[in-house]
Each structure stands twice: as structure tokens, then as C-alpha cells.
Subunit: 427 residues, 2 copies
């Protein structure tokens, strides 16, 4: 019986695992520089946690299961609801602002395709307890820092920034009722994925009149916040949201990352829980869909049973970003995978193991022949093991407790030396 892996999942052989570890380490390092600490929760959560708050698209994509007592469970499709649950459970004890990050395995039953996996990883960053734009800016700055850390620059990617409060006020200013705004946002979020006519048709289906659809088209053509016209500006909600967004853009300039960021009124984000600033990262070549994004979600904590608290953050999956990094040739540098390979002319476990123990106790990564192979075969295995040095036991020039050390990079061989002196090579 040959069992296959499940579609939309990945096997991480050593090369792929090295890339994943490289990326995760960079996410962790950037998060810690920005003063965030790591947390995690379970993969298994109650279905209730997602059905109401993640929005219909995610709810449809849930992997659900019943446990043996008939409780409805789900595999987490994202981390934010877990985070909100964790904060709600200890809200009184946690000092604010809460600065948490997390790298979690998530699950969504989507059509498996390029950059869309059913099982993937997500880097989550959440800053809880701060109302001002500085919190949004702090999150965006961390996102940029992590992109720099993996080798991307402002010529590679762009952050498109908007505020749901602004777009919502503008949509209402067109005479569209408050209760339709969510539906309109859902349609606008699909703009990248479906043709323009289809968007217009969906807006018409949603009951928007021709003038309202034209108004939306006009708004979506804006390039800067100065494109807001005087009548719109006179609406207090529009003015307030536009001013907030201007403050945010100014702060991003103070962070030194203005060249990464641009206002884009068309950004709404798919998830239902965003309430303020929203942003998405795109590659400048337009080859991929949004790489990742985030925003402000001031009501989520209250919705899962805690007290309401201002909150913002972002989530970055590893799939699309991974494709972009691969395309740009960015990833871990190749190095030696093994420090020392211990070889012996005659298999002699006590001597070999003494050598191995000595080197490992000094923190070295050590391999040796486990099969009693001939010395030539051991030399070949040393190379394929990615070793920097080979220790040779039993050479007639260097009788035990002396050994020879061959440097595979330099192509040199040491003088006979006591085995206990080996370990400082290449420092």
C-alpha cells in the first residue's frame, strides 16, 4: 500500500525545512527587535470561535470535526480569534499595550493552487490597547523590517494603505445605507480576482443605482487623499478618517519607510472584523496577489467575550511570500551542514566514539561512518554529509591517540595531533 500525502499539504525535506527555518528565524528576530513576545494557542478550537467572527469566506473553508462526545471542533484557519480568546480569558491581569507575535500552522479548505495551500504557516503580529495611529505605524514598520530582513526592498514590494472608516463614510455619502456597506466591501475585496464588469454586475445585484456605481468607480480611481472633493470633505466622518490616515502616513515617513507605503482607497481586506486602517503588501511587478496584510480590529475582543479594546496587527502567510522569495533568489546561504566527519582506517568503536564525544561535547556537529565502510567510501560520505573537516583515525602517520584533520575547504591536512586538541579548526 503506497499512501499519498493530502492535496494542499507540504512535505518539508531538509532543503525546504532549511528555507522555512530561515524565514521563521527572520520573522522572530524582527518581532523581538520591535518589542513583541511570542505566544501560541491550539490548532483545535471550538467551531463557535470562527463561525461568527471570521467572516463567511473563512467559515466556508473550515476543516470541522466532531470529537467523541459530539462537540463541534475546527482546525484554526487563522490565529486572531485564538488571540482574542486568550486575551479575553486574562484581560484583567495583562498589562497594556499587549505586544504579541505568533507563528502558527493554519488550515483552510480552499481550491489548492499556486500560493494557496490547505495547510500553511502564518506569522501573526498584534498590538492591543492603543487607539492612536502610532500602533498601526508600529505594526507596518515591523512588517517592513521583516521584509528587509529577508532581502526585499521598496523596489520589490509596496504597502497599499487605506482606512475602512474613510471608505465606509464615502460609500455612505453616496447614499448607500450603513447595513449595505459590509456587502459592498466584500465585493470590492474581490476586484483583484474577477474582471471589472463582474464587479459592476455584483454591485448592481447588491441594489446599487447607476450613480452610486459610478461614484464608487470615481472613488476607486483616486491616487492621493487630496482627490477627496469638497462635498465629501465637509462630511465629518470623511474628514476625521482622512486626517487619521494623513497622520499615519506622516508617522510612516518618520519611521523612514515612506518609500514602501502608498495610499490606496481600494484596499478593504477580506476579513469581516477590520474597523479602521487596513493595508496590503503587493509585489511591484504585479505577479502575485496580495502577499499579506493587516489592519485595525477594535471590536473583535468584545465580540469573543472580553471587554472591547483597541487592537491592530497583521498576518503574513508563508506560501505567497515563499513564491516571491524563490523568484527573487532569496533564501538561506549555503554552508557546511556538518562540522566534523570522523573517519577511521579500521572500524574501532571505542576510539571513534571517544573522538565523536570529544567534539560533540565542544558543541560541534559531528557525523561518522556507521556501517564499517572502507576509508574511501567514508571520504565520499564525508563530502556528501556537507562536512567542513574530516578527522582521520588510524593513519600510520598518526597513531592513536593522535589523528589527522583534513580541511575540505582548503584542501589541506594537519600535522599529526592529539585527538583532544581537535576542535578549534576554522574558528
Amino acid at each position: 500500500m503506497k499512501v499519498q500525502s493530502v492535496r494542499g499539504t507540504r512535505d518539508f525535506y531538509p532543503d525546504e525545512m532549511a528555507v522555512r527555518n530561515w524565514l521563521f528565524e527572520r520573522w522572530r528576530a524582527a518581532s523581538r527587535r520591535a518589542g513583541f513576545v511570542e505566544v501560541d494557542g491550539p490548532v483545535l478550537e471550538s467551531l463557535d470561535l470562527y463561525t461568527e467572527k471570521s467572516g463567511p469566506e473563512i467559515a466556508e473553508q473550515l476543516y470541522c470535526l466532531d470529537d467523541k462526545k459530539g462537540r463541534r471542533l475546527a482546525l484554526r484557519p487563522e490565529f486572531t480569534p485564538t488571540l482574542a480568546r486568550m486575551i479575553a480569558a486574562r484581560q484583567a491581569a495583562l498589562p497594556t499595550p499587549i505586544r504579541w507575535f505568533n507563528i502558527s500552522r493554519c488550515f483552510r479548505y480552499e481550491r489548492a493552487q499556486r500560493g494557496r495551500l490547505r495547510e500553511f504557516f502564518q506569522w501573526n503580529v498584534d498590538l492591543i490597547g492603543v487607539e492612536g495611529e502610532i500602533a498601526d505605524a508600529e505594526c507596518i514598520s515591523l512588517a517592513v523590517d521583516a521584509m528587509r530582513e529577508v532581502g526585499l526592498g521598496p523596489d520589490d514590494v509596496e504597502i497599499r494603505l487605506n482606512d475602512r472608516r474613510l471608505l465606509s463614510a464615502l460609500v455612505r455619502h453616496l447614499g448607500i445605507a450603513q447595513e449595505r456597506v459590509g456587502e459592498v466591501f466584500g465585493i470590492l475585496d474581490k476586484r483583484d480576482k474577477v474582471p471589472a464588469e463582474r464587479v459592476q454586475a455584483m454591485l448592481a445585484d447588491a441594489g446599487l443605482e447607476a450613480a452610486q456605481r459610478e461614484g464608487i468607480e470615481r472613488i476607486l480611481s483616486w491616487q492621493t487623499l487630496d482627490d477627496i472633493d469638497a462635498a465629501e470633505r465637509a462630511t465629518p466622518e470623511v474628514a476625521r478618517a482622512a486626517d487619521g490616515l494623513k497622520r499615519l502616513l506622516r508617522m510612516l515617513a518618520d519611521y523612514g519607510i515612506a518609500d514602501w507605503c502608498r495610499f490606496n482607497i481600494g484596499i478593504v481586506r477580506g476579513l469581516a472584523y477590520y474597523t479602521g486602517a487596513v493595508w496590503e503588501v503587493y509585489d511591484r511587478n504585479g505577479k502575485f496577489r496580495a502577499i499579506f496584510g493587516g489592519g485595525r480590529y477594535d471590536r473583535l475582543l468584545g465580540d469573543v467575550g472580553g471587554h472591547s479594546m483597541p487592537a491592530c496587527g497583521f498576518a503574513c502567510g508563508d506560501a505567497v511570500l515563499g513564491l516571491l522569495l524563490k523568484e527573487r533568489g532569496l533564501g538561506p546561504e549555503e554552508g557546511f551542514e556538518t562540522d566534523y566527519y570522523v573517519a577511521a582506517w579500521d572500524p574501532d568503536w571505542p576510539k571513534m566514539l571517544q573522538m565523536v564525544r570529544h567534539l560533540r561535547s565542544r558543541g560541534k556537529r559531528v557525523q561518522f561512518d556507521l556501517k564499517g565502510s572502507k576509508i574511501n567510501r567514508q571520504s565520499k560520505n564525508a563530502i556528501s554529509s556537507g562536512a567542513r573537516f574530516v578527522v582521520v583515525i588510524g593513519d600510520k602517520e598518526a597513531p592513536w591517540p593522535k589523528v589527522l584533520v583534513r580541511d575540505l575547504r582548503q584542501g589541506t591536512v594537519s600535522q599529526p595531533m592529539a585527538y583532544r586538541k581537535v576542535g578549534d579548526e576554522g574558528q
Copy 2:
């Protein structure tokens, strides 16, 4: 609506996450010293992968689900079947020996209790392609190295070592048919968990005669391999298995870990796929059930559709080990969580952000006040953020671009200094 977490799962708040990261880093470091490379696979696998090979106990504990096309999936209860699948898929291309390790989240629907969780982590080590005892010894040595790394010693834990081939030959020597051996092993594996009379009753239920049950009782009382009697010794399978176990014990002495290891004929391991040496780690105080264990499983690769290959390894869960470490007071050392906290007399984003950028670009972990708090409140927040240094902007002694640096450990304050010079403190 207040949503609860699922029973048997854990939330990792920053303190618990720090412990988990500390443990995982030690597992990784020990694995790499022993020349193992990291791999991973999916959490979602086909149910088929487990139903036949993991043994009935694990199959009962599976979390199963159907995807939308009706395919039967399961959440991995352990990593080894995934590993076997991955190797079978690339068997021709992978040079042997294969030395892989993995840290994976696993799922078992067990009765949740102390040290038994439904969602837990497991460190897996597998060495594939080597028949000799050296491979078993290499795995046990790595297990010991990792225990040393977390602060445990041979006075804390003991490795109990056996060989299924030996026990199987002895059981058959009692006149028990080959096809009953698996069942007898299953009963013996429960010895720790149920009273002795119950074990005897189960053996009787399995059809063992009184003399056979007494024979098993006698064998289980052995302390060393020399307790094997002459008639048993004369059976070639017994002699061969006993000699192999002696060679293994001698190698463990060559690794310098004889004081950690002891022969114990009663060790069988619960999983169905073990075929040779088996071992389990116990705490010397006998307070916990087996902490972890491993063994040889030479047939598993053939069973999942590859060519048969010799293999051995072990898996170490984080739950019981975590309880032991906690009991012994072992874990990460407390340190400063933040390098610099940037405080300002007057909230002034451009200056504060310039200071923050400067320090983060030098790799420092930096926090600052996001709420426009008064300077006294900022000082308190600096302490609760776990900062080592506080940079004060806007003190009248040190007008911008000068700042003061307060050392929270020493209780000292620097002379006014240019903000660009900050960053070498505490090196």
C-alpha cells in the same frame, strides 16, 4: 459569547511560550550536534497511513475528519508514519544513512489528565539505513545529550533497555505461538498502568497456561542478561538477541553514558511497529510514567510502500518531560526582555521614532510609549516591559539630539550623549 478553549489543549502565554522555545532550542541544538537535519510533514494525513501501522491503541485515539470530497483524513498522532511516507516517496534519491529530526504538533483523543494532552508536541529522531547496534546507540546518545542540555543527569532519569527479538524468542521458548506474541507484548506494555493480578488475568484470557504465565513472571524478574538460563541460551534466537544487546550496552559505555542505561527485560513499547531494541526513559523517583522512548522498526518503510530498510529512532513528547522539568525547577533563565525603552518628556513622534529606528537598526529590542503617557508612567512601563536601559528624550540637561541613558540594573544615568551614540551599553 465567551468561547472556551478545547479540553486537552494548551494556550501558550509569553511565559509558557518561553519555556517551550527554550526546550525546542535545546532539542534542536542536540540534534544538530549529532548530525541530524530537521524535516517536517503535514498535520493532515490520509487516515490510511495510521489505521494499519500505528497499532490499535493509537488508531482508536485518532482525530478523524472527512474533507468536502469525502476523503477520510486524520490529524497526525505521531510523526513516524509521515517520515516513512516521505522516505518511501524519494527512496531512490536519498543517500543513506538518513539522519532526520523533527519537532511536530501531534493529536490524540485520550482522556485528558496530568501529562496526557490531546494536542502536544513531539521531538522525533530517526536514523534510517543502518542495521548495526551503533545506530541504536547513536540515537540513545542523542537522547541523553538532550537531557543533559536541559539540566537532567543520570541521578534524575534512567534509560531502560530491551530488545523485542530477545523477549519474543523467550516467549516462544515458553511454548507460546508466534502469532500470540504481539498480544502478549500488548499486555506486558500495560504493566505500569494496571495491577499485577490484572496482568496475570489478561495473560490467562489470552490463553496462556499457568506454567507459561509463571515463566513470564520469572523472566520479568531478571536484573541482567546473565539471568538467562542455559536452556534459553541454547536457543539461537535468544543467544543472537542477547549478544546484540550486550554489544549495544558496550557501545553505550563507549559513549560515556553507561550510568544512564540499564537492561530491563520488561520494556516492550506500545507501538506495534518495533522490531528490535526498545528503550524507555523513567525518572528515578518513579513519579511519572515513561517520559519517552524509542527503538528499532525495520519493517515500517516496507509497510508504507517503500523498500524495507533498517531504521531506529525515538519520540519525546513535551508534556511529561515538561512536568519533570518543572518539578526540578529547570527552565529558561530570567533575563531582560527588552534592551531599550525610549521615553520622552514631551510626546514628539519624529524624535522618538528616530531614536527607535537607530536602536532597532542596530539589532536592539526596543519598546516605547505609544499612548502619550506622562514621564512617570513611562518609567513604570519601562520596568514592566523588562527593559535593561531607558533612553530619555527631552530632559533639560540633554536637549535633542542629545539624550540620557538610564541603566535599570546598575541604577546609574549617563552623561548627556548624542542619540546616535546610544547602543553600545551593556556590551
